[in-house]
Amino acid sequence: MKPNLSTNVGGLELKNPVTVASGTFGYGQEYDQYFDVARLGAVTTKSISPASRAGNRPPRLVETPAGLLNAIGLQNVGIDAYLSEKAPFLREKGVPIIANIYGHSPDEYAELARRLEEADGADAIEANLSCPNVHDAKTARGATLVSQIPDAVAEYTRAVKSATRLPVFVKLSPNVVDIRDPALAAQEAGADAVSLINTLLGMAIDSETRRPRLANIVGGLSGPCIRPVALKMVWNAASALTIPVIGMGGICEAEDAIQFLLAGATAVAVGSMSFRQPDAALRVVEGIAVYLEQHEIADIRELIGAMEL
C-alpha cells in the first residue's frame, strides 16, 4: 500500500511535501522541458516585484566549494508580466503556485499580495523579507534586511496578511543571531508558515584581477555547503513555532529532505540542486516515497519532527 505523501502547509494542501526554492526554478516553464512540474507539491516562483527589475550588473555568479554565490539582484518581469505571461502556464499545468513577492515597503508587499489573489496568480504568498530595510539600510552598521529586525518582520507580515486571504509564508534570512526571533515575530503577526533559509551572505575574490568575483561585491551563498546551517535553523524554528516551517538550504537528495522533515519541516524546497540536476526536485519526491516504503512508514506526517534525542 502506497504511503501518504500529502501535507498541509498553513492552509495550502500539497500532494507531496516538495516545492522548489524561489529564483532557482524560474516560473516553472523552464524546467517543464525536463519533467512534468505538476508532479511537484507546488512551484515557488522567482521573486515578483511591483515593476520589472533589471537586477545587478554581471558577473552575477561564482562557484564556491559545494555551492555558489549569486548576486542576481532580484531581476524579474514584474507583477504585470507575471500575471499575463507566467501564471497562465502554471495554471494550465494545475500545479499549486507559491508566489514569492518582493517590495520596498509594507504597502508594496500588500499590493502585490492583493493583485495576486485578485488575478488568481497564486495559491499562497511567500514574502521574501530578505530585502533591504529602507530605514536601517541608511545606517552604516547593524541590521539592513527587514528579516533581521523582528518588529519590521511583524509589520510587513501584518501588511500582507491584511491584504489577502491566501496563506502567507514569510521567508527569512539566516544572517541573524537567533532565527527564532524573526520566526516568532512572523507567527505573532499572523504568518501561516515561515520559509527558511534564504542565502548566507558571502563573497569571493579573484586573486589574479584582485577584483571581487561578483560585480555586486557580495552575494548569497547557496548549495550543499550551507545545508548544516539551514538544518540547524529549521530545527530551532520548528521547535519554537506552532505554524509550519518550509525547510530549504542545500537539499540535493531525498535523504537530505528527510533530515529537514525529521528536524521539523512540514515541507521542503529544492534550490540550487536543480542547476546541477534539472529533475532534482522530482527525484526528491520519488526518493521520499521509496524511503517511506522501505521504512514502512504509512504517512509522511509521522516523519515530521521525529528526530530522536
Binding site: I72, D206, R213, R276
Partner: protein
C-alpha cells in the same frame, strides 16, 4: 527542446597541450542540435565542482556530438579524465545557435583561441547550404591554432594569426578581419575572449557588416531560470535590459549588445 541524457563517451583525446576533444553518443541531443548551441556537462560525481560546465558543440554528426575544450580549472580537468566507454550526463541542446542565411554574399568566421570550438559545426552547416566561408583563426601561439584541417577539407580560405608570430602572421584577429575588408553584404561570425569579440565586432560593424558573436558568461542552470548569465543589451526598458547568454544567446547580433557596459576588468 533540451534533454538531460547519460551519454556514452566514444572518445576523449588530447589534441593540443591543454586541449581535448570529446565525442559522445547522444541521439536525442544530436537530432535537435544546431551549430552554435551548447550542452551542460556534469563533470563531477561528488558535489565538487557543483555546477555543470557549458561546452559548445564542435560538430553534430549522426547520433552524436563532439566538443573541443581547454583545461581551465578543476571542472575541465575532471572532464579530461573521463575514459572512453564511461558515461557522462549532458544537458542540451541549449541556446539559440548561429543562423545560416545564404542571402549574404560573403561569410567570414573569426575564431580566437578556444573560441574556434563551435565553428567546425557551423562550417558543416554553411557548406551544406552551399556557402563556403572564409575563416580567420587567431591564437596566442602556434600550438593553440586548432581545426585548420577541418576547415581546409571544407575548402575554406584560411587566415592564420598568432600574437607571437609562431604561426601565420603576427597579428590580432581584428586586424586580419579589417584587411580582408568585410562589407555590407558580409556576415561575420565571432567567438573568442570577450575583449577579442569586442574589437573584432567593432571592425565588422564599422564596415557595415552583419556580425554574430557567441558570448560567454558564468552559468548555473543553462536554461534561463537563474538569471545568472546575463549581459547588458542596448534595450532601454528596465525589464529587458539584461539578456541571458544561455537562452537569448549565446549567439547575438553584436549591435544589440551594450559593449560599453561590459566591464572587461572582470575577465581574466
Amino acid at each position: 527542446m533540451p534533454h538531460v541524457v547519460d551519454c556514452e563517451i566514444l572518445a576523449n583525446e588530447r589534441v593540443a597541450p591543454e586541449h581535448y576533444r570529446m565525442r559522445v553518443r547522444a541521439p536525442k541531443i544530436a537530432a535537435a542540435a544546431r551549430p552554435g548551441q551548447f550542452g551542460m556537462f556534469l563533470v563531477s560525481r561528488g558535489l565538487y565542482p557543483f555546477l555543470r560546465r557549458p561546452m559548445s558543440f564542435e560538430r553534430i554528426a549522426g547520433d552524436g556530438v563532439s566538443i573541443l575544450y581547454k583545461v581551465e580549472g578543476e571542472g575541465t580537468r575532471l572532464l579530461s579524465q573521463f575514459a572512453q566507454g564511461q558515461s557522462i550526463s549532458v544537458q542540451g541542446p541549449l541556446g539559440n545557435g548561429f543562423s545560416v542565411d545564404p542571402s549574404f554574399a560573403r561569410h567570414i568566421i573569426v575564431a580566437g583561441g578556444i573560441g574556434v570550438a563551435p565553428f567546425p559545426g557551423l562550417v558543416d552547416a554553411l557548406v551544406s547550404a552551399g556557402i563556403v566561408p572564409e575563416v580567420i583563426i587567431a591564437a596566442r601561439t602556434r600550438d593553440l591554432i586548432l581545426c585548420t584541417e577541418d576547415f581546409r577539407r571544407q575548402g575554406c580560405k584560411l587566415y592564420i594569426a598568432t600574437d607571437d608570430g609562431s604561426a601565420g602572421e603576427k597579428a590580432f584577429a581584428c586586424d586580419v578581419l579589417e584587411r580582408v575588408k568585410p562589407d555590407a553584404e558580409t556576415r561575420v561570425y565571432v567567438c573568442g575572449p570577450m575583449v577579442m569579440m569586442r574589437t573584432t565586432s567593432d571592425v565588422a560593424v564599422a564596415a557595415g557588416a552583419d556580425c554574430q558573436v557567441s558570448l560567454e558568461a558564468q552559468m548555473a542552470c543553462g536554461d534561463g531560470a537563474c538569471l545568472g548569465c546575463v549581459v547588458e543589451s542596448k534595450r532601454k526598458q528596465e525589464g529587458e535590459k539584461m539578456v541571458r547568454v544561455c537562452v537569448d544567446g549565446p549567439v547575438f547580433d553584436t549591435r544589440t549588445i551594450d559593449w560599453d557596459a561590459h566591464n572587461l576588468a572582470y575577465d581574466r
